[in-house]
Symmetry: C2
Subunit: 451 residues, 2 copies
């Protein structure tokens, strides 16, 4: 018995991204301006984003060509392998066929470079010399530092303080690629200073780090801002994952019954899921598509679907999404990439339309799944990825009960090498669970913008 | 401009290892028994190693079949990619063509599983339930923990204390794969207790950790010992690297003028080098083959070629090799995998015969090379690997002077994700160099066994 690897030939790598906006049964609600509360136009976004990315954000074209320069860098690590997890299947004694798409292979160790590279590229093409961004667990920050080093762009990263302290290695990695990384809240922005004045021990949040990065970019001519998840263009860049998967499951002679990914802002989930949502909508397929979030930060399963601020300071666009409120401070769980208060508008819309499912799982159960995976397939997974593994294992165990040979595909979004202390905490019995308090929902609703 | 990746089709993966003993112009000097000082027989090794590995150690067959069960696990991450480093070439402005074989892709992140997997397999086949080993930087210990988890073997790892303290993440990784890891010297063995009695702050050495692991294995019926480098069978398992490389440079339409790898015990160097030594010996090729070691632990360039103990306590076989003396305590440089006092008998023999070259480089220069590599090719390399990168860059810079289009191939033996603090120390200007003191050589000679 052994794991099987499906390698897509390089000339079969997709050369376009898939834009689900072309296929949505109802269009996405527009973004609103945080001050005027009116629908946003391209000019409103121009101080922050390259014009090409703004066009992609609202494009209704089904496929958008990937620039040659981006394809060349993608080819350093793409197409990524698809694995049939036969060692895990054996350990679980399940008749299910479990596949995982392996996004660990980029130099930054996750799916994030799939969007970081085109974002840096388009900004470089438009003459931008400096970018700002925020990062939670550090996967996005390090990926953008890598991408900026390819295109010789200066980068400043606002890293959520709790992760900055938990994950010094990620900061060092960003610095190895010449990124400048500061803990957020910082003294470098007004938003940061206000937060620190109110609470000098503020652990930070993605929403607050976004405020800092946006403010920094707004106040400098040579600087744009880059976001690692949530936005339509980011999710679209990630569709290369799902597009490759479709070819690879075909190589394996199968088609998934269930597609699973973890969801924080929604980028790795959207990336693997949307090409399969397309098949459900357009090709009569009937695949279950499951987004997995932490029970400590359960925007899809316990949030409200409403227009909300994307950041703490109310500087980023207002979006219609599932949200726990822009001031929600999630507990310091180890899956730092899943601690955003909201959810990508596309993923939220798909959920509202009933085109995808959502599941919340607790932290202890995800680490247990991660160790099961490491002790069968060998790979040590990011805490975020462990959420997807948890649900994949649960579905495979259901198949053991029913005898069904379901085909389960999940996105292995990244490795856990910078998260070994989290595994250590779990293995030594010191890890705890956090449940989202039900009274928080009212608080979230109270903080929504008045439209 | 972009990096180019050469992927060998899975059905082209070698199914035999190459055994250079079949082609040596002079045979290897035999191992000696540490007590009797007589040549070792298979029976002397039987308490420590599986019989199949003992046979491989002395085999004169040119090719030895890789068992199917090992091939299946290899295929999870092999064939590994060969990269043409065009981004690095561009940064160096060199006409040289630089290739690197990318061994980072195994779940343990280095070349070490190439030998860990067959070693665990043969021991499992012969009914062994428990293995012991030592580890320096942790690459070997984690690889063997991974391999033992595939074959359900219990593992105890004696980790050089200075690395145990510098690299807690590696210990946690071993534990994730169910390995039991203790700092060496430990209180669990006689050798460890003696060392701690003499110096409670003993930072440990590979030679001492070997003594502990060998003693542990000798005193338990169900237990064998596994070594991650130095021995002939270990180097032979690693030849899959060089055998794949030969096919991949052919895909690229080239043949290397220079082959480079770092050398501590010699396993990744031997693995990439020996198939090219074969071509020099048997096919009229004239490739320069360069082993790179740290100037702080320069066995090939400053050691003596003599019979010496493989470990501190004099329990492991005596081998003819370049050595700095079995009691040499190398300074705590970050390339923990390159801190062994001796050098593989095969590599030593090849060097003595003039079939390979050796270079010593200092620590600061290797980190500078590692950052140059990370800022062009993207990948962050192990401190050990940075030694090979240093010499590859030096050779490429020579080509810039002379205008020669040399083809340079080096072994990218592993990633540096567990070594980010070393990069941090370097980037913050706090890293220091260590030069091997010339008066130490006499000391090494004085400590050699009386034959």
């Amino acid at each position: 018995m052994s794991t099987i690897k499906y390698i897509l030939p390089e000339n079969e790598m997709p050369t376009s991204w898939y834009n689900i906006q072309a296929d949505l049964p109802e269009p996405l609600p527009p973004y609103l301006h945080p001050l005027t509360k009116k629908p946003l136009g391209p000019d409103d976004l121009a101080p922050l984003f390259a014009m090409e990315l703004i066009k992609q954000e609202v494009s209704q074209e089904r496929y958008i060509n990937i620039p040659d320069e981006v394809l060349k860098i993608y080819r350093q690590f793409r197409p990524s392998p698809l694995y049939r997890a036969r060692l895990l299947e054996q350990m679980l004694d399940t008749p299910a066929h479990i596949y995982y798409k392996f996004e660990d292979v980029s130099p930054a160790g996750s799916h994030k470079p799939n969007s970081a590279i085109p974002q840096a590229y388009y900004n470089m093409k438009e003459g931008i010399k400096r970018l700002t961004t925020e990062t939670g667990a550090g996967q996005w920050g390090s990926s953008l530092a890598l991408a900026c080093s390819y295109f010789d762009i200066e980068l400043k990263i606002y890293m959520v303080r709790v992760s900055y302290e938990q994950k010094p290695y990620r900061r060092m990695m960003m610095e190895a690629w010449k990124g400048k990384c500061v803990p957020s809240p910082s003294l470098d922005t007004n938003a940061g200073r206000v937060a620190l004045q109110a609470d000098p021990n503020n652990p930070g949040s993605l929403g607050l780090a976004i405020s800092e990065a946006v403010e920094d970019a707004m106040t400098r001519e040579d600087t744009h801002y880059a976001l690692g998840s949530v936005l339509n263009h980011v999710l679209m860049h990630q569709t290369i994952i799902g597009l490759e998967c479709k070819k690879q499951v075909e190589m394996a002679g199968e088609y998934p019954d269930i597609v699973i990914a973890c969801a924080g802002g929604g980028s790795n989930f959207g990336g693997i899921a949307m090409p399969f949502v397309h098949d459900n909508l357009k090709k009569g397929k009937n695949t279950r598509i499951v987004a997995v979030e932490p029970s400590s930060c359960p925007s899809l399963t316990k949030g409200v679907y409403a227009y909300d601020y994307g950041d703490v300071a109310g500087m980023a666009p207002i979006a219609k999404m599932y949200t726990l409120g822009s001031h929600f401070m999630p507990p310091p769980v180890h899956a730092g990439g899943l601690r955003y208060h909201g959810m990508s508008p596309i993923v939220s819309h798909l959920h509202k339309l009933g085109l995808i499912e959502a599941r919340a799982v607790n932290q202890l159960a995800t680490f247990e799944a991660g160790l099961t995976f490491a002790r069968s397939e060998g790979f040590i997974s990011a805490p975020e990825t462990n959420h997807a593994i948890r649900v994949a294992i649960d579905e495979a165990l259901k198949c053991r009960e029913t005898g069904e040979k379901k085909v389960i595909l999940f996105n292995h979004s990244g490795y856990g090498y910078f998260d070994m202390t989290a595994y250590d905490t779990y293995m030594s019995g010191k890890l705890t669970d956090y449940e989202y308090p039900s009274d928080k929902v009212q608080e979230a609703q109270a903080g929504l913008p008045q439209l």
